[in-house]
Amino acid sequence: MILETARVLSTSGIGQLGTVLRIAAPEIAVQARAGQFAHVRPGLSFDPLLRRPYSFNRIDRRAGEIELIVKPLGSGGEWIASRREGDGLDLLGPLGSAFVIHRGTRNLLLVAGGTGIAPMRVLAEQEAPRRNVTLLMGGRSVAHLWPSDLLPPSVEYVTTTEDGSFGVRGRVTDAIGPLLGWADQLCACGPWPMLAALGRLRDAADRAASTYPGRATLLDTQIAVEQHMGCAMGVCRACVVVTAHGNARVCREGPVFPLGEVAFDEGEPATVGVIA
């Protein structure tokens, strides 16, 4: 990982998703992988204090550029989202684990909810030249969806909106059925309830016969998760989630985990319940 003083090249608002910052960060870009994130310092002072983690939304190694989707949440998010062309930005990254696309995958299904589009767009751009890629994208409304013209032309996309303003009315899990039989591999990123719903699909597949459509794909699914984060260096243990192997740090062992290893609790990440 690198501590890099980067420079904002351009910014653009993407509906209700947030502000996309295009950033010159050559040292980070050359190492970055889909699913990993940058920890961005919100200013030069210690108020606000904590860096904000943003998953890479685009990685251009040759140009030395990355893009981040920044929601103006809290004073730190607002500060970062209000950066303009030419502004400096203190980035720590790339951090965390990355999605692994299997060599033999022919049909790749990407599932994105809200700003969970970020790593899915990286995968779409990276994998579209090599295999069939379908992006299933969900949001509250059409304003919460990533613009299709900012996706590689060969990527097919299916959309769901909760208000029915675009595509299938409902959530991504309402539209995933027909795609499961098609896909060889599934990667997902989005809010916890969406990931938990995928987890329930996976559990159902796990209990079902081997002829269950998409069973192998569901069992093999990788997800990227979010958690309130402190240092992002693995020291503070604020960002842990419960996995089959005990607590795992989202900033180190994650944010990409096998779906089957993450423990959910009523649509939220499971949490250690004992206050001893």
Binding site: Q31, R33, D47, G230, R237, A238
Partner: protein
């Protein structure tokens, strides 16, 4: 699988997007090590990474990495030899990366230029040596605070931790602890609230996993000891005794985030009891970390000194709470948590100032140190050293900047040593006759 090599060379010689993942996958599937190495060499990302530094090994799925490690450790495999003379750095990268997945042994010089040119460091030749606790001489007064620096190995990827006066490791309990429920962290004005709950692998595991890494890092380690009973503290110290890099113990008698954690720190009698018991267990200096939440922190400090403590850390976090107004409940999973960061600095400086007048043993100031001037406040208030904690989350270079800043201060003010500023802001000591 000869097809793979051919495809890579011909079809996408400069496409660099997936080398590491695919390499690991192939290792997991039992490919020959030779193939791996060759893949790495052919891959642009590898070359670029070799030039810019190591990738973070932890980002790889650990099971794959472990398989890779096993593959590479397999005794029947010899390192490949053909045509590699000019590319040795690339050849070495994958095995090294995989080996370093095991955090226990991962030690990387983050700033080789600094290590290689030690004579050129800003603090070289400046007398920053302090006695941070009785019997604990450190080359400079800048430490890292417990819970904000892990076991030292994590930030070693970014900074040269051997430049630090010492590190204080994550609070260590006799047995492993899973910690508290989410959320564990919340931002506050100029600070953070945390309620981690002393998540740690337990004393035996800490000693086993990190003894070698600490020695390799060349850093002095103060082990932060936590527990629920006197026996707990004694047990942890017993487990860590003899670990080469460990130079002292800091007794966390003041964790606000575990039930009973603050009990010892709030009661002078209990604080003295645990201090005495640990002193009997070890010959290393014993430092007691004070809590600002004690009704009479000066009384606790005096009791610890009388019980044989060699130093005091002032202060641990201040109890605090934030409410999520949308969900109408506290943000932190445990409700309350410990406030740290610049928000508590005036409290910490004040307690340092009070305690410094009450005890003769050295004090380590802690609480919101972000820069040189903050450190000087504590030193002038009577602290012999400082811990940089929460600031490191915002600026990982903060502890190093403070060392360099203090060196510049000593030079710029014509001081003989940094010790000349310790306690200069304290009121004059009364004459014995008074």
């Amino acid at each position: 699988m000869p097809w793979r090599r051919a495809r890579r060379k011909v079809e996408r010689p400069v496409d660099v997007s997936r080398s590491i993942e695919e390499s690991l996958e192939e290792a997991a599937e039992g490919e020959e090590e030779e193939d791996l190495v060759e893949l790495a060499e052919l891959d642009g990302a590898t070359i670029a990474e070799a030039a810019t530094g190591e990738p973070d090994p932890d980002r790889e799925p650990s099971d794959l990495a472990i398989k890779l490690q096993n593959a590479l450790d397999a005794p029947h495999r010899e390192p490949p030899r053909r045509g590699l003379e000019s590319e040795a750095p690339h050849r070495g990268r994958l095995p090294q990366s995989a080996a370093s997945v095991r955090e226990t042994t991962r030690v990387k010089a983050a700033a080789p230029s600094e290590s290689a040119h030690a004579a050129a460091l800003p603090e070289t030749g400046v007398d920053l040596e302090v006695e941070a606790a009785r019997g604990l001489r450190l080359k400079n007064p800048v430490l890292t605070a417990s819970g904000t620096f892990g076991q030292g190995v994590e930030y070693a990827e970014l900074i040269d931790v051997s430049r630090l006066g010492a590190i204080v490791n994550k609070g260590t309990t006799p047995a492993a602890r899973p910690g508290n429920p989410q959320y564990r962290i919340a931002e506050t004005p100029s600070g953070i609230l945390n309620s981690i709950g002393l998540e740690n692998p337990g004393a035996t595991e800490v000693a086993r996993k990190y003894a070698k890494a600490w020695a390799d890092l060349g850093v002095s380690v103060i082990v932060n000891v936590a527990g629920y009973s006197v026996d707990d503290y004694v047990y942890v110290v017993h487990e860590l005794e003899g670990t080469p890099a460990v130079v002292a113990y800091e007794l966390n008698i003041s964790c606000p985030n575990v039930k009973g954690g603050m009990l010892f720190g709030c009661d002078p009698g209990l604080a003295a009891e645990v201090t005495r018991a640990v002193k009997a267990e070890t010959d290393l200096p014993v430092i007691v970390k004070l809590t600002p939440n004690a009704p009479d922190v000066v009384a606790v400090a005096r009791a610890c000194e009388e019980a044989g403590a060699d130093g005091l850390t002032a202060i641990n976090t201040v109890l605090g709470m934030r409410i999520d107004t949308k969900r109408r409940r506290p943000i932190l999973g445990t409700g309350s948590g410990g406030l740290s960061g610049p928000a508590i600095r005036p409290i910490a400086v004040h307690i340092t100032y009070q305690v410094a007048q009450a005890v003769a043993i050295p004090i380590i100031g802690a609480g919101g140190v972000t820069n040189t001037d903050d450190a000087l406040e504590f030193l002038m208030a009577g602290a012999s050293a400082v811990q940089v904690g929460t600031a490191t989350f915002a600026d990982p270079l903060a502890p190093i900047k403070v060392i360099e800043g203090l060196a510049a201060y000593v030079g710029g003010h014509g001081l003989a040593s940094i010790r000349d500023v310790i306690g200069v802001a304290l009121p004059p000591t009364p004459e014995p006759d008074d």
